[in-house]
Symmetry: C2
Subunit: 96 residues, 2 copies
């Protein structure tokens, strides 16, 4: 299993649109991507510009399928200039 925590730091005036696009990505990912165990969008309640995707994938192959999907690529392209600072991508293993 592969776990991912992706922290996005979104410009204040782009938060609403990012959420709209990211919600579509969540729906598509859950519906279409094989091996997707968890795909969830969270928002930091103290800093609403921090939007975090928490993901769990069965294996690397499933993750690769997602990364190459049109729904993922489209949202990445559409939100390319929404970031205030670069996203942080934590690919994790479970300790316990």
């Amino acid at each position: 299993m592969i776990k991912i925590i992706a922290n996005n730091y979104i410009k204040a005036d782009k938060v609403e649109e990012f959420i709209r696009l990211a919600k579509g990505l969540v729906e598509n990912t859950r519906a279409k991507d094989a091996g997707c165990i968890r795909y969830e969008l969270l928002q930091d309640i103290k800093n609403p510009q921090i939007l975090t995707m928490v993901e769990e994938w069965e294996d690397q192959e499933s993750l690769n399928g997602h990364a190459n999907s049109s729904h993922f690529k489209e949202v990445m392209a559409a939100t390319a200039d929404f970031s205030e600072k670069p996203a942080e991508l934590h690919i994790c293993r479970t300790i316990l």
Copy 2:
């Protein structure tokens, strides 16, 4: 429901001991703390010094109970000087 992503940035020579203590915290929390839905320790595979606790709590009361528990306070005290830089605590709401 309250979701928390707590990123810890641990000194290289303290990672092993931090994991040992944090695993004990995970076990105690899961066993003893009411309202704990999820309490999981993850490690960034590219940077093993980043150790993240992913938590889900039924409500603020459950979270407060945990924060006031002896097993939590003991581990916080024992690991107080393990950090390379301050931890990041993201208290989150679920968007989708």
